[in-house]
C-alpha cells in the first residue's frame, strides 16, 4: 500500500511461522504488531486554560465544540516500541548478551561480513544471529551454515525490524549467556534508524560501491550509528570512490563516529572490527557491573 517503499498491511513471519498478534480489535486491520500497553494515567483536562495546546496554539482549536473534550496524553508515539526495547535490553543484561544492530542499504555485504565475523569470533564467544528481511530465509541459512544459531524474521512488506519482533524472536531462540548477538536489520538506510531494538550499539555498513554522499543523503541513520564500517575496500583500485570525502561527510553528520575500513571477503580491517567488538563488549559489561 505504500507508494514509496512498499510498507503495507502484511504478515510478519519468524522462522517462516506467522508472528502471533496479541490483539486485533478491528478485523480490517491485519497488521497489528504491538500489544496494548499497561494502564496509563491519562488526566482529563477540565479547565481549558490548563491545556498546553491552548497556550501553544491560540485560536487553533476553533473546531472544538461543547460536545467534545480534550484529553491530555503526553506519550511518545514509539512508547510501545521503546517499552519492548527496554524489556529486550533487560534480557540482554541479565544474560550478559552483547547485542549489535547492523544497518545498511541492501547489497552492502552485511551477510558476508557476518559470516566472516562469526568464523573469526566463534572460538572466543558464543554467537547468535537474528536476520531481518522482507522475504526468504536465505540469510539465516547462510548463517546457520557457519554453525551459529539464527532466527529469520520476515517483515513481509515492512521496511524495518521493531523491538516487539525482536522480543518474539528471542522467545524462539536459546542464546547462551555471554553471547554476542548480531541483529541484521532489513536493508534500508531510512526506517530502521527510528526503532530502538534494545541493542548496545548500532553499526552502519556502507560499501565503497555506493556513493560517498550517502551520509548526507541519509543523515538520520548516520546520526544514530555508533560505528561506521566501510566495506568492500578491496575494490577501491577499480572505483572512483573518494574514501576521505565519504568519511568527511559521515563526520559532518556525526563528528565522533568511528570509522573502520574493511574488506569482508579479503579480510583486511577485520581485526580492528573484532577489537572494536571486544572493547565495546567489555565496556557494556563494565557499565552493568556498576
Amino acid at each position: 500500500m505504500c507508494t514509496t517503499c512498499g510498507c503495507g498491511l502484511s504478515q510478519i513471519r519468524i522462522n517462516n511461522k506467522p508472528m502471533r498478534i496479541q490483539r486485533q480489535s478491528h478485523q480490517s486491520l491485519t497488521y497489528r504488531p504491538l500489544r496494548p500497553s499497561p494502564a496509563q494515567n491519562h488526566e482529563p483536562i477540565k479547565d481549558p486554560a490548563s491545556n498546553p495546546l491552548k497556550a501553544k496554539n491560540p485560536g487553533r482549536r476553533d473546531h472544538q465544540t461543547s460536545e467534545t473534550r480534550m484529553i491530555k496524553i503526553e506519550r511518545d508515539i514509539l512508547a510501545e516500541n521503546n517499552r519492548y526495547a527496554t524489556q529486550n535490553r533487560h534480557y540482554f543484561s541479565a544474560h550478559r548478551i552483547f547485542a549489535l544492530n547492523l544497518l545498511s542499504s541492501p547489497g552492502s555485504g552485511k551477510t558476508t561480513l557476518l559470516v566472516q565475523t562469526i568464523q573469526m569470533l566463534r572460538n572466543l564467544y558464543p554467537i547468535a544471529v537474528i536476520e531481518g528481511d522482507q522475504q526468504t530465509d536465505h540469510d539465516a541459512t547462510r548463517i546457520r551454515a557457519t554453525g551459529a544459531p539464527a532466527v529469520q524474521i520476515n517483515t513481509g512488506k515492512g521496511c524495518h525490524l521493531d523491538a516487539a519482533m525482536i522480543d518474539r524472536a528471542l522467545q524462539q531462540m536459546h542464546i547462551e549467556n555471554n553471547s554476542v548477538l548480531f541483529i541484521e536489520n532489513v536493508g534500508n538506510l531510512v526506517c530502521p534508524a527510528s526503532f530502538d531494538l534494545g541493542e548496545a550499539h548500532k553499526v552502519i555498513i556502507l560499501s565503497v560501491t555506493e556513493g560517498e554522499d550517502k551520509p548526507l543523503k541519509y543523515p538520520d541513520m548516520f546520526q544514530a550509528a555508533d560505528l561506521l564500517l566501510l566495506n568492500k575496500c578491496d575494490l577501491l583500485p577499480h572505483l572512483t570512490f573518494d574514501t576521505g570525502l565519504a568519511i568527511e561527510y559521515a563526520h559532518r553528520i556525526n563528528p565522533s563516529l568511528p570509522v573502520i575500513q574493511i574488506s569482508a571477503t579479503h579480510g583486511s580491517g577485520m581485526t580492528a572490527w573484532l577489537e572494536w567488538i571486544e572493547a565495546c563488549r567489555r565496556a557494556t559489561a563494565g557499565a552493568l557491573r556498576q
Binding site: 505504500c2 517503499c5 510498507c7 503495507g8 480489535s25 478491528h26 480490517s28 486491520l29 497488521y31 497489528r32 504488531p33 504491538l34 496494548p36 500497553s37 494502564a39 496509563q40 494515567n41 491519562h42 483536562i45 491545556n51 498546553p52 495546546l53 496554539n57 487553533r60 473546531h63 472544538q64 467534545t68 473534550r69 480534550m70 484529553i71 491530555k72 496524553i73 503526553e74 506519550r75 511518545d76 508515539i77 514509539l78 512508547a79 510501545e80 516500541n81 521496511c159 524495518h160 521493531d162 534500508n188 531510512v190 526506517c191 534508524a193 527510528s194 526503532f195 551520509p215 548526507l216 543523515p219 538520520d220 548516520f222 546520526q223 561527510y249 559532518r252 553528520i253 556525526n254 563528528p255
Partner: protein, 113 residues
C-alpha cells in the same frame, strides 16, 4: 517510509486512551513532531487516514505541531537553530552539535466525544 508503523502506534495510543477514558469518537489528534525526527508529515497523514478506517478515530483529524530543531555547539557553546544533521554552527563552523530539541515524536492530546 516507516510512517505506517507510526500511524499504527498512534492508533494504538488512541485505543489505549479510549479504554481508560471511555470515549467513543475522536475528533482530533494533536501531535508534536520535531523538525529533525525522521517523519514525513504528508506520508504520516496518508497512512493515518488508511489505518483509522472503521475505528473510533475514523473521523479524527491530525493536527501536527512542528517543533523546531535546536542544539548547543560543542565548540563555541552557543545555542543554535538546527534544521538538519549536516548543518555546521553558523558562528564557528563546527559540525559537532548536541541536539537539545527537535527529535520529538509525541502524542500530546486528543479531542474526543
Amino acid at each position: 517510509m516507516h510512517e505506517l508503523s507510526l500511524a499504527e502506534n498512534i492508533l494504538q495510543l488512541i485505543e489505549d486512551a479510549a479504554q481508560q477514558q471511555h470515549f467513543t469518537q475522536v475528533e482530533a489528534v494533536w501531535l508534536e513532531i520535531g523538525q529533525l525526527a525522521c517523519v514525513e508529515h504528508e506520508s504520516l497523514r496518508f497512512f493515518f487516514n488508511s489505518v483509522k478506517k472503521d475505528t473510533i478515530a475514523q473521523e479524527a483529524k491530525l493536527e501536527i505541531i512542528t517543533i523546531t530543531g535546536q542544539g548547543i555547539c560543542d565548540r563555541c557553546h552557543q545555542t543554535i537553530a538546527v534544521n538538519s544533521y549536516d548543518m555546521a554552527c553558523p558562528r564557528c563552523g563546527g559540525y559537532a552539535v548536541t541536539i537539545t530539541q527537535g527529535e520529538e515524536m509525541r502524542m500530546n492530546a486528543l479531542e474526543v466525544k
